[in-house]
Assembly symmetry: C2
Homo-oligomer: 202 residues x 2
């Protein structure tokens, strides 16, 4: 009586295995939990997953997430905030990280990825065209590049700088250096090098 | 624009957070993944979770999982296998672990938990009554207790032995000792003690 004689259980395990951070054992644990410990959780997840794509849309202009109750295709940020500064991020989730930090009053632009030819992601797969259009139309003064500080993020930032500077906007990048609360002793070489390069006058 | 202004996203994150092994960050990552990376995964999970309780039932007799296509309330094990030996386990998932090991030809009985007064689980919350009835009716010779080797499992095993022995059945417990492929040097004291107590003639 192996598990593969249970197609419904197996299908459910496979569905959970597709999610990030869930392995085969974790998926199995979740499905048995739904079956025996918390039967209501299954219907809650079903309802949420069923409706999430109906209730949450992506803003046509800046590509951040919008809940449809909030009003159609244009988001709360595009409508009201300072149009002269645009912060460029990789994923919709990054917008929430920057908002949590507070202090940024401008608008966003989600690239929907970074350039990575090995993964088959080329510049035309991203929302770079929309970004160029917004800069030309909205009177943007500064573009802040807030991509992840790794190889693909750095490469994409350099590519964007090359394209955007000729449009007459200031192109900046988030500071790279020591994270707050860290120990200099344990910092990696690259981070330390960047923090020396980026040192500032007090 | 904090995340709590997005009720649909928040509801979905909360639904995933209820599952075992998924924390707040993991749940958030899953929901953003469903929204932006793999929109089809959401509908697959919705469909699976919607149907899992309809397609999978629990056998009324032994309480192991049954897929309803396999035929109503009595399972494939209860119908055909040796009725004289019953293996008692804590959860339906444990049945698959024992089946994977192979070699066991008898029937199962799932307790649906272990006695744990601190968590509010008393003997009457488990399927002990059904087990006693089966032993009386089905001509059982041996009950193998296969509960987890921890405090609650050991306590429940002792309790069951007290109740079942007067019914005239042989009550045994899975051997406790060194797991295969382990190093004696790294074994914990309790495991080593049990392996000495349970030593056998070669």
């Amino acid at each position: 009586m192996p598990l593969d004689q249970f197609p419904a259980i197996q299908e459910c395990i496979d569905a959970f295995r597709r999610l990030p951070g869930i392995g085969p054992k974790g998926a199995q644990r979740i499905v048995f939990h739904l079956l025996t410990q918390d039967p209501e959780a299954a219907s809650q997840i079903a309802a949420s997953c069923e409706s999430i794509h109906v209730r949450v849309k992506i803003c046509r202009k800046c590509h951040i997430l919008v809940e449809s109750e909030a009003g159609g295709e244009n988001c709360a940020v595009c409508g009201v905030r300072d149009p002269s500064v645009i912060c460029v991020v990789q994923e919709p989730a990054d917008v929430f990280a920057i908002e949590r930090a507070g202090g940024f009053r401008g608008r966003f632009h989600v690239l929907m990825g970074v350039i990575s030819p090995l993964d088959g992601v080329n510049p035309e797969d991203l929302t770079i065209g929309d970004l160029v259009e917004r800069i030309k139309e909205d009177g943007v003064n500064e573009v802040i590049l807030a991509l992840n500080p790794n190889m693909a993020g750095e490469g994409t930032s350099l590519y964007l700088a090359q394209i955007l500077k000729p449009l007459g906007v200031r192109v900046t990048q988030l500071a790279q250096g020591l994270p707050m609360g860290s120990h200099l002793e344990y910092a990696d070489e690259l981070t330390l090098m960047r923090s020396i390069e980026g040192r500032r006058e007090l």
